[in-house]
Symmetry: C2
Subunit: 478 residues, 2 copies
């Protein structure tokens, strides 16, 4: 049996499905205030409802506030103001997480069920803290599924993965791995500020200690998406875990796609959060899309803009993955969510990025650096062949692995079950203090030693010198 | 086609065999002064003889000297003397490598053949330097097969893999990953001395630059043998590449093994280098072996000692892997060569170590730390159950991988062929200077900035103060 808990549900689900295929029993803890998990839909998992100490209305209000802040407020803010607001939201998120956690560890009923369940492993996303504590109480291995944390703070401090700021750009810093001097200064400050802030929340040491016990960290990225960096034996890179081959399109969509002829199609979506945009913005986008020779499939649930061209069709819902895998697809206009980007990588489709919020700018900067995306310029991506070539290259990098990300994820979860954790993959760095890790105690000792030797040498010399001179003086005075 | 060159032949061969199975053509460069490669034996590889500028007699004499030094001289030497002698041998080894290299790059005929061969990749062991240059001249991807280099110097400096001396014991330092303060001091010094010495040989920068271009580093160890440590995306751990299931034993050996009853057997070998030991040592070993209840198979080509017990049988040659995989095997008495150790790990057999020279003490310290070997004490390993349990645990760790080491090695070699190298796995650290890597330029800048601000602030304050006081004084004097 296997215990699931967490938020980034889309990436967890294929893993759990595959584990059920392999004969595992899976229990999913669903907080009552969850916005994305639906415990009533028929499923092969056992859902266990957990009473959050906060209501779903509060959660919804927060989510709305967060979106409004990210999309509309942020651009009018200064850096410091933005940062403070962001950290406030971070604190609210922590409150929600602790609210969900209360529903688990403070509920005798739930804890009793979990203890009796004899679970083999706990799978969790550390974006919602708390799973560490549950795994620790139950005494079972913990496997993380991680996208990233701000500036890789938790991966570095709790997971002990080395990340020299000279060539590992902090997550969300909007930098690539090729940094000039000023970018390295900025990256260094970015790490430092983040570390300073996060070391101030509660008691990071003990939380970090618990996080550091995680047996396997499944990192939802790979070297097709991310920049190569040092890793540890228990960090497994499984980006694109949810990707799958394209299925045939529904008849009406296939007909529209085929009508595009040699020009092909463009897929346009701003993700599931953006249901409405202002009339002004809608008209602007629509008239821009009207100018390209491709047919455009626009996923949008708001009202059709007036300037909509004959080449553009609005859909309430599109089979995004099947469209991305269609041979007629020329470009993917995206807000830059990591799931959509991975589907484009999987199928080798170049991208146009219109980043809105959260990790979207970060993601699109990666794609731009790898030469498969431009930001806000659709014609370039279609007419400049290098983007398609690079997209095909990334796609081949994505597929050219000994194991698919899904198989790799499942392998390491089952590994943690078979071996009751993964202690032999854990570096000893976890047992060191920060000054021991950086050998500062060794430095201090060697420096003291050298200084002592120099001191003794000088003293001895001066002593000898005085003796000699003393004798000489005596001799002279005789 | 694929080009092989190098010395650690036993581990290269299974890789090349498997590549030939997969339809690749393999050419092996054999130096005329090679002691271990036999280009005349029938094989599925194409052997290309390379005229070393040094004769095989010189090579043999050096090897003998090296063995004599390692086994007989070393124990009577002080640390400094030993170190100097070792470095002298290192320099001679380099001379041999350059002698072999001459036979390749300075021979028009060989270079012509290599250029016309249209090879896809060069596979090499960096213990014999030179392959980097050949790959660079031919403009083809380079895949390394590496056991380790002293203190991981080349992996760290040329491969850019991070190795904090606080928890990564330098190779050959005889330390584990659990170090107390004094051991960390020693490890730190060990790294420093090694780095100082190796940075002095020739022009390390340009050699390192060439080595840094290696696309894939196949490291012949894994977390069953080694301590977990940071790695890089292009470092693949393939320890145990030569291991395979046991085949049935020859009839006479099987009969002797079965005669051991429940007590089981002990396998005793000091490797293929030790053909003779002194009569005194032989008698000592034989009488010790006579005292255990197990039957002993002793691989030895010298004269049978007088004190040989009835339970011990001397063999000129033993099917070591098949014996290690036999259910009656209780312990493996070994000199601690890494190939034999990996076969014992593969089959889950506890070990008794009698380290002789080279990396043998290093290897056995790893096995001791993992609880599967003792050094010089056969009864403990057989009677204390923890050794067998730990051996079985290591064996399960060894087998519990998504891919076998051989398949993994072959995968990444073919990967380098398919993708014309592996540039997307290469960290940007290769492009940085050492002070950039450690952010020292950033530190210096930020420090200067802070000092300037403090300086201006103090100046401003003192200026204001003087103004104020000046006015006050004036006011007073009015």
């Amino acid at each position: 049996p296997l215990l699931g808990m967490g938020s980034h549900w889309i990436n967890m689900k294929p893993l759990l499905e595959k584990l059920v295929d392999g004969g595992h029993r899976v229990t999913v803890l669903v907080p009552s205030a969850s916005l994305f998990m639906n415990s009533s839909e028929p499923s092969r998992f056992h859902y266990e409802r957990v009473e959050s100490s906060l209501s779903i209305e509060v959660m919804e209000k927060f989510m709305e506030e967060f979106l409004h802040f990210s999309i509309y407020e942020m651009e009018h803010m200064g850096y410091v103001q933005m940062y403070l607001r962001f950290m406030e939201l971070f604190r609210i998120n922590l409150k929600f997480a602790l609210g969900n956690l209360d529903g688990v560890v403070k509920s005798e009923e739930v804890m009793m069920k979990l203890k009796r369940g004899n679970f083999d492993v706990l799978l969790a996303d550390p974006i919602m803290p708390g799973s560490e504590l549950v795994a620790d109480i139950l005494g079972i291995p913990l496997v993380y599924s991680v996208r990233f944390t701000m500036a890789h703070h938790f991966e570095r401090y709790c997971g002990q993965v080395p990340a020299p700021p000279s060539f590992v750009p902090g997550a969300m810093s909007k930098l690539t791995d090729r940094m000039d001097f000023w970018e390295r200064v900025w990256n260094f400050i970015f790490y430092a500020v983040q570390d300073y802030f996060l070391s101030g929340t509660g008691k990071p040491t003990s939380a970090c200690e618990l996080m550091g016990k995680a047996d396997i960290w499944l990192i939802r990225t790979y070297w097709d998406f991310d920049f190569p960096r040092p890793l540890l034996p228990n960090f497994k890179y499984v980006g694109g875990i949810h990707c799958k081959p394209a299925k045939p399109l529904p008849k009406d969509i296939e007909e529209f796609v085929q009508s595009s002829g040699d020009a092909g199609i463009v897929i346009f979506t701003l993700g599931s959060f953006i249901r409405n945009i202002t009339t002004e913005k809608g008209n602007m986008i629509a008239s821009a899309l009207a100018q390209i020779p491709q047919k455009v499939l626009w996923k949008y649930s708001g009202q059709a803009p007036e300037t909509l061209g004959p080449n553009t069709k609005i859909f309430n819902w599109i089979p995004q993955n099947d469209l991305l895998g269609h041979p007629k697809t020329r470009a993917f206009v995206t807000h830059g969510g990591s799931n959509g980007i991975y589907e484009a990588i999987y199928h080798g489709v170049p991208m146009v990025g219109i980043p809105m919020f959260a990790d979207q700018p970060h993601n699109l900067i990666h794609m731009k650096a790898k030469g498969v995306a431009v930001i806000d310029a659709i014609n370039t991506v279609i007419n400049d062949k290098s983007y398609k070539e690079n997209a095909m290259r990334l796609s081949s990098i994505h597929h050219d692995k000994p194991l698919s990300p899904l198989d790799e994820g499942v392998f390491w979860i089952e590994f943690a079950i078979r071996n009751n954790g993964a202690k032999h993959l854990r570096v000893q760095a976890h047992e060191l203090t920060w000054y021991q890790y950086h050998c500062l105690d060794v430095f201090a000792f060697l420096l003291a030693l050298i200084l002592t030797i120099v001191f003794i040498f000088i003293k001895a010399c001066s002593f000898c010198l005085r003796k000699c001179c003393g004798r000489k003086t005596k001799t002279k005075s005789e």
